[in-house]
C-alpha cells in the first residue's frame, strides 16, 4: 500500500458520462493486481470530505502509470471529470484483495455491466499472460451503445466478445444476463462479474444453479478504504462475527457463494 501525490497525465472522454484518467505513480503501477482499487482524494481540502474508490483498469509499469475509468454520478466524479491533465491528486493504493489468479481451471466467462468493465479489462489482460493463461469469453452490457465505454480495450484482451445493450443500439439487444445461460451451457471453469447489484445477483444465481464458481467485484460507500472504519461492509451468509465483511479489505472481490444476495437486493448501498 502506497500513499502518493500523483499527477493526472491524461484525460479522455470515452462515453456520454465516462472519462478515462491516467495517473503517474510508479509504485502503484508496479504493484497493482487485477481487482484492486485506488482511493483518490478529490481536493487538498476537506469538502467533499471522503476519498473516492476506483478500480484499476490497467497498469503500465514501464511508464509508471495506471488508468481508471470514471463514470460521472455525483460531485466527486464530476470534479475528477473536469480536472485538467497536470492536476495533482493524493492517492492511496493499491487496495483490496484482487482476483485470485489464475483461478479455477477451464474457460473463463466475464460479465461486465457499464463501468464495471474496468477491473475485468485488467483481469482479462492478466489471464492472457503465459503464467495465468485462460481462454476468455466476455459479455459486456450497458443501457445504450454509448455506455459501452472501453469496449475496444476489453475486446482486445478477450478471445470472444459479445456486446449487449438494452435498446439494441449496439450488439445484441437485451440484458447482459440473458446471454449468460448459453455461455454456461458451453461449459465454463469460472465466471467473474462486475456491475450493478441487480446484475450481479442474477449472475450469482445462474452460476449457483449451474455449479460454476463465480467471483464478483462489489461496491460500497467507503470511509477509510484500508479496513479501519468498518463503514463499507456487505452482508454475507456467514453467521456471527464474519457476517459483515469489509469491501475495502476482505473484498472488493468476493466468492458469490458467500454473499447474502437477498439482503443485497433489498438495498445495502450504491446501485
Amino acid at each position: 500500500m502506497y500513499a502518493r501525490t500523483t499527477r493526472l497525465t491524461h484525460r479522455e472522454q470515452v462515453g456520454p458520462d465516462c472519462h478515462l484518467l491516467e495517473f503517474d505513480c510508479p509504485e502503484i503501477a508496479g504493484s497493482a493486481r487485477p481487482g484492486q482499487f485506488v482511493h483518490v482524494r478529490l481536493t487538498g481540502g476537506f469538502d467533499p470530505l471522503l476519498r473516492r474508490p476506483f478500480s484499476v483498469m490497467n497498469i503500465n509499469p514501464a511508464q509508471g502509470s495506471f488508468q481508471v475509468l470514471v463514470r460521472t454520478v455525483g460531485r466527486g466524479t464530476m470534479l475528477l471529470a473536469q480536472s485538467e491533465p497536470g492536476s495533482e491528486f493524493h492517492i492511496i493504493g493499491p487496495l483490496g484483495n484482487g482476483f485470485a489468479l489464475p483461478g479455477p481451471p477451464g474457460e473463463v466467462v466475464l460479465v461486465a455491466g457499464g463501468v464495471g468493465v474496468a477491473p475485468l479489462i485488467f483481469l482479462a489482460a492478466a489471464l492472457h499472460q503465459p503464467d495465468n493463461y485462460r481462454y476468455v469469453r466476455a459479455l459486456f452490457g450497458a443501457a445504450i451503445g454509448g455506455d459501452l465505454c472501453s469496449w475496444l480495450e476489453l475486446s482486445l484482451v478477450c478471445d470472444e466478445f459479445t456486446a449487449v445493450t438494452e435498446d439494441g443500439s449496439a450488439g445484441e439487444q437485451g440484458m447482459v444476463t440473458d446471454f449468460l445461460p448459453a455461455q454456461l451451457d458451453r461449459g465454463a471453469g469460472c465466471v467473474y462479474a462486475c456491475g450493478p447489484t441487480a446484475m450481479l445477483a442474477e449472475v450469482a444465481e445462474q452460476c449457483r444453479r449451474g455449479s460454476v464458481p463465480c467471483f464478483v467485484s462489489l461496491e460500497q460507500w467507503m470511509g477509510c478504504g484500508v479496513g479501519v472504519c468498518l463503514g463499507c461492509v456487505i452482508p454475507t451468509r456467514a453467521a456471527g462475527a464474519e457476517h459483515y465483511q469489509r469491501v475495502c479489505k476482505d473484498g472488493p472481490i468476493f466468492d458469490a457463494a458467500v454473499i447474502d444476495w437477498e439482503a443485497m437486493r433489498r438495498g445495502c448501498g450504491p446501485g
Partner: protein, 309 residues
C-alpha cells in the same frame, strides 16, 4: 527559538504524553492498520475502537454516508469482543511504543464493570475510555451519557474495580454538557473526553427513504468542529478535570483552538480517513506555531483563551 525546543509534553491526570495529539476511537483501528502510512510511534497516543464484552456484528449497511464537510456513521460497535481483543490485538498494541487507551462500551453497568475488571489484568493499557456516548446502538451507549445519574452510577461502579486511569467520553447530544461532565467527575472519572458524534440523518429523495439502514447516525468531521469547540469551552469553565478535546480536527489551527479552549490533549478522528498523515502534520505545525509565538511549553496554552474573556 531553535527547532525541537518546544516542550510538547502534556500531563493527563498523571498520564504523560509526548505530545497532545491522539488518534480517536474508531478511526484508527487497533493501531497497526495504518502502520504503512503513519509513523504511529510519533503520536501522543492512540485510542482503540470500542470494545464490548461479547463480539458484535454491528449494524446492517449502508453504514456511512458523506454530508457537507462531514460524514454520518452507524457502525453499531462492530468488534471482536474483549477476549479476542486481549488475545489478538493487545500484543501488537504493546509494541507501538505509545500510550494505548482502550475504549469500552456496554449495554448495562455490569458490562462496563466486567470489561474494566478484565482489562485491569491486562498489561500495556494506559487508560480506559468509557464510551457513554455511542449514538448507534439500541441499548446502553448514549443512554448512559445523556443522563447525569446514570453517568455517575456507571463511572462510580467502574471506579470500584480498576486502578486504571478513567476517561469518560461525553455525548454532545445533551442540553448541558457541564452537568454531565460534573457527574462523571463525581463518579470518579480522572479525565473527560468530548465530543462523540452528533446524532444526524440523511434522506435519499429519489428512493424516499433514509440513506443509512440504521436511519440515524453520528455526524463527524469538519462540520462539527465549532460545536465541539463550544462544548469543550463550556466544560472547561465548569470542571477542573483534564479534558481531551475532539470533533472535526483537521489541522494545527483546529487543534490549537481546542487547547486554548481548555483541552490538555486533542484527538483526531475522521481526518485520518482522508489524510492518514494528518496527525504528524498537526504535531509539527503545533511545534512551529509555538516556536513562532515564543511558547516554551504547549501546556502553557491550555485554556489560554479563557483568560482573555
Amino acid at each position: 527559538m531553535a527547532a525541537g525546543r518546544v516542550d510538547l509534553r502534556v500531563d493527563l491526570a498523571g498520564l504523560s504524553l509526548a505530545n497532545p495529539v491522539l488518534a480517536a476511537s474508531g478511526t484508527f483501528g487497533y493501531g497497526t492498520e495504518y502502520a504503512d502510512l503513519v509513523e504511529v510511534s510519533k503520536l501522543g497516543g492512540i485510542v482503540t475502537k470500542g470494545i464490548t464484552l461479547a463480539p458484535r456484528e454491528g449494524n446492517p449497511p449502508p453504514r456511512i454516508c458523506e454530508t457537507p464537510a462531514g460524514m454520518l456513521n452507524a457502525i453499531g460497535l462492530q468488534n471482536p469482543g474483549v477476549d479476542a481483543f486481549v488475545r489478538d490485538k493487545m500484543p501488537a498494541l504493546r509494541e507501538l511504543g505509545v500510550p494505548v487507551i482502550v475504549n469500552i462500551a456496554g449495554e448495562t453497568v455490569a458490562d462496563y464493570v466486567a470489561l474494566a475488571a478484565q482489562l485491569s489484568e491486562c498489561d500495556g493499557i494506559a487508560a480506559l475510555e468509557l464510551n457513554l456516548s455511542c449514538p448507534n446502538v439500541k441499548q446502553g451507549g448514549m443512554h448512559f451519557g445523556i443522563d447525569c445519574e446514570l453517568t455517575q452510577t456507571v463511572v462510580a461502579a467502574v471506579r470500584e474495580v480498576t486502578e486504571l486511569l478513567l476517561i469518560t467520553k461525553l455525548s454532545p447530544n445533551v442540553t448541558d454538557i457541564a452537568e454531565i461532565g460534573q457527574a462523571a467527575g463525581d463518579g470518579g472519572s480522572d479525565i473527560l473526553s468530548l465530543i462523540n458524534t452528533l446524532l444526524g440523518m440523511t434522506i435519499d429523495i429519489q428512493q424516499r427513504r433514509p440513506v443509512l439502514a440504521n436511519v440515524t447516525g453520528g455526524l463527524s468531521g469538519p462540520a462539527i468542529q465549532p460545536v465541539a469547540l463550544r462544548m469543550v469551552w463550556e466544560l472547561a469553565q465548569a470542571v477542573d478535570l483534564p479534558i481531551i478535546g475532539m470533533g472535526g480536527i483537521t489541522s494545527a489551527v483546529d487543534a490549537l483552538q481546542f487547547i486554548m479552549a481548555g483541552a490538555t490533549a486533542i484527538a483526531v478522528g475522521t481526518a485520518n480517513f482522508v489524510a492518514p498523515g494528518v496527525t504528524g502534520c498537526i504535531i509539527k505545525d503545533i511545534e512551529t506555531f509555538c516556536e513562532e509565538q515564543g511558547i516554551a511549553r504547549i501546556a502553557d496554552l491550555v485554556g489560554a483563551a479563557h483568560a482573555e474573556v
